[in-house]
């Protein structure tokens, strides 16, 4: 039997007996992404539901001065309340979200055809009231526009004259692409699973083996160093891939329980898309394992390796963050950038976009090349005499 297979078999067997590995690789690695995703999605859904469903309560000061406006507001479903006597104070003390104040001059201004002032008192530093302020403002402006048009009509003028341009928004997003806005973080969460899945093992069988003082005896066997290092990296890869498979399965499951339909969006997280993602991610897992083993090999201790590898988890965050913040048009050259290419492809897959032929292969080739480079560097570090002492 080839030596790397002996090493691989032993590492897998030994780590399957370790509750810490199983907990950190498989349970934590597989659950973290989907749980975070479900949590955020859950918050977004409940917020959207709140906004749409809640009735607007509007404290109005001086309501007697504008009976038409008040009647109109009530017809729009607004609950008009009496404002407190000290509106400024009440807002500062958070007793009310906002107050609409109709000044005493309002009736005179209205009758004379001058611009009648209506005030909205609010605190722009309070983010939780933004929604209510925006709704109140939109309603008051709509009332103003409507009254203006009536005045023009009374004077026999086409209201269109006062509106030389009418802007209309026509949303071209498909349900999938609206969902993908929320899915922008999916590439990161999927990538995170392989980084978490392999992390504990990469540390344990490199820096950990040295710290437990069994590395020197191991290297004294008549076996080439690359075989030992490869066996260890392949064992790490296996755990990373199991974590990935579990993560994708969790996403599939989670989508059935979350009321995503309420968002009016559809996610393409069906089995075939997930299978494509799994295959897409194999080179990423390879790269993660290579980088982690390399880092663990040059770390001087278990603790140091843990610290470095925690930082390493932010590496897959960068391309995904980039995609989430500044959406860009996918182009062929991007397939040559490791991690970024797969993040892009995962995003496109989740949006059910058409991917040009050859892109999958190009991305796999680029990331695999980077992974082999990292693995070669890890083997190089294994060969250094410092490897024995840390």
């Amino acid at each position: 039997m080839k030596a790397w297979r002996i090493v691989f078999g032993k590492e897998v067997r030994e780590n399957l007996r370790d509750r810490r590995t199983l907990l950190s690789s498989l349970v934590f690695g597989a659950m973290f992404g989907p749980l975070l995703f479900a949590l955020i999605l859950g918050i977004v859904i409940s917020r959207e539901a709140d906004k749409a469903g809640q009735e607007l309560k509007l404290p109005v000061a001086g309501a007697d001065a504008a009976p038409n406006l008040i009647a109109w507001l009530k017809r729009q479903g607004v609950v008009v309340e009496t404002a407190p006597d000290d509106p400024e104070q009440a807002i500062a003390e958070r007793r009310v979200d906002l107050v609409v104040r109709i000044p005493g001059e309002y009736p005179a201004q209205w009758r004379s055809g001058a611009a009648a002032v209506v005030e909205i008192l609010h605190d722009s530093s309070r983010r939780d009231t933004e929604q209510a302020v925006r709704r109140a403002r939109t309603l008051l402006e709509a009332w103003g526009a409507q009254s203006g048009m009536q005045r023009l009509l009374l004077r026999g003028i086409d209201p269109g004259i006062a509106r030389p341009v009418e802007v209309q928004l026509r949303d071209q997003s498909t349900p999938e692409s609206r969902g993908a806005l929320i899915l922008a973080m999916l590439p990161y969460l999927v990538m995170l699973s392989v980084f978490i899945g392999g992390m504990y093992l990469a540390i344990d069988i490199t820096a950990g083996e040295r710290e437990r003082r069994s590395l020197e005896p191991l290297l004294l066997n008549p076996v080439a160093v690359w075989q030992i290092a490869s066996g260890k990296m392949l064992a790490t890869l296996l755990f990373a891939l199991i974590a990935l498979a579990l993560t994708l399965a969790m996403f599939r499951l989670g989508m059935q329980f979350l009321p995503v339909a309420e968002l009016g969006v559809r996610f393409n997280l069906h089995a075939p898309a997930l299978l494509v993602m799994f295959v897409l991610m194999i080179p990423v897992a390879l790269l993660a394992v290579g980088l982690q083993t390399l880092t663990a090999a040059f770390s001087r201790s278990f603790r140091e390796a843990q610290t470095y590898l925690s930082f390493l988890m932010f590496v897959p965050l960068l391309p995904s963050l980039w995609l989430a913040i500044s959406p860009l048009k996918p182009e062929a050259w991007m397939m040559a950038v490791p991690l970024f290419n797969q993040a892009l492809l995962i995003q496109m897959t989740s949006r059910a976009e058409i991917i040009a032929p050859g892109w999958h292969l190009a991305a796999a080739a680029a990331t695999t090349a980077a992974a082999l480079l990292a693995a070669a560097a890890a083997i190089h570090f294994y060969r250094r005499p410092q490897m024995l002492e840390g």
Partner: protein, 243 residues
Amino acid sequence: MIKVDGLAKHFGALEAVRDVSFTACDGEITGLLGPNGAGKTTTLRMITGLLPPDRGAIRIDGVDPGAEPLAARRRLGVLPDARGLYRRLTGRENLLYFGRLQGLSANECEARAEELIATLNMSDFAGRRAEGYSNGQRVKVAIARALIHRPRNVLLDEPTNGLDIMSIRALRRFVAELAAAGHAVILSTHVMQEVAALCRRIVIIAGGEVVADGSGDELLSRTGAATLEDAFVALTGGEGMAA
């Protein structure tokens, strides 16, 4: 047989080994004696091919570990200073893992492991996981692991470190048997009694150099000391260095 000629190795500005030459013959226990930091472990690591020497030649049964490291290692059984076991594997599984890496077939491996478990009296704990082992049990497994492939040459670095007196005596007997069976054994230690009890030849290393090489009697007559301990102190340059 292990032949070492003019070995030198430095780490940065530190000259760990300056000039070490000796021969360990088949059927003999050669004691490598020296204070801590004298260069013993570095010398052993060069013999096993883990460290490339700056200068000098090494032959293990005629094989140069620099040119053919794998062939040289097949001829060596080494108990290094680092003797950690895999805690989540049983003692027996620890042996089998190294046996397979030495290139033994699964059957050979198991037969040889049982043989060593019997010889070293390990049968009551070989089936348990190594995480609960005592110091003595750990050393036994580490020695058995080093000998699983029946190496011609055996290197033992401080084998009795941390053992109780019963285990030490059993170990000495075992090492004497190895030599009697025709193996070349190198015993590296800083413990005088170890060498006096076992070794026909004593190589004393101090400051990275061989300062004496001969039988115990030769060392006594050369230094004019009454005991081996006095001879050792005289040869290694006084009590200040031996600390």
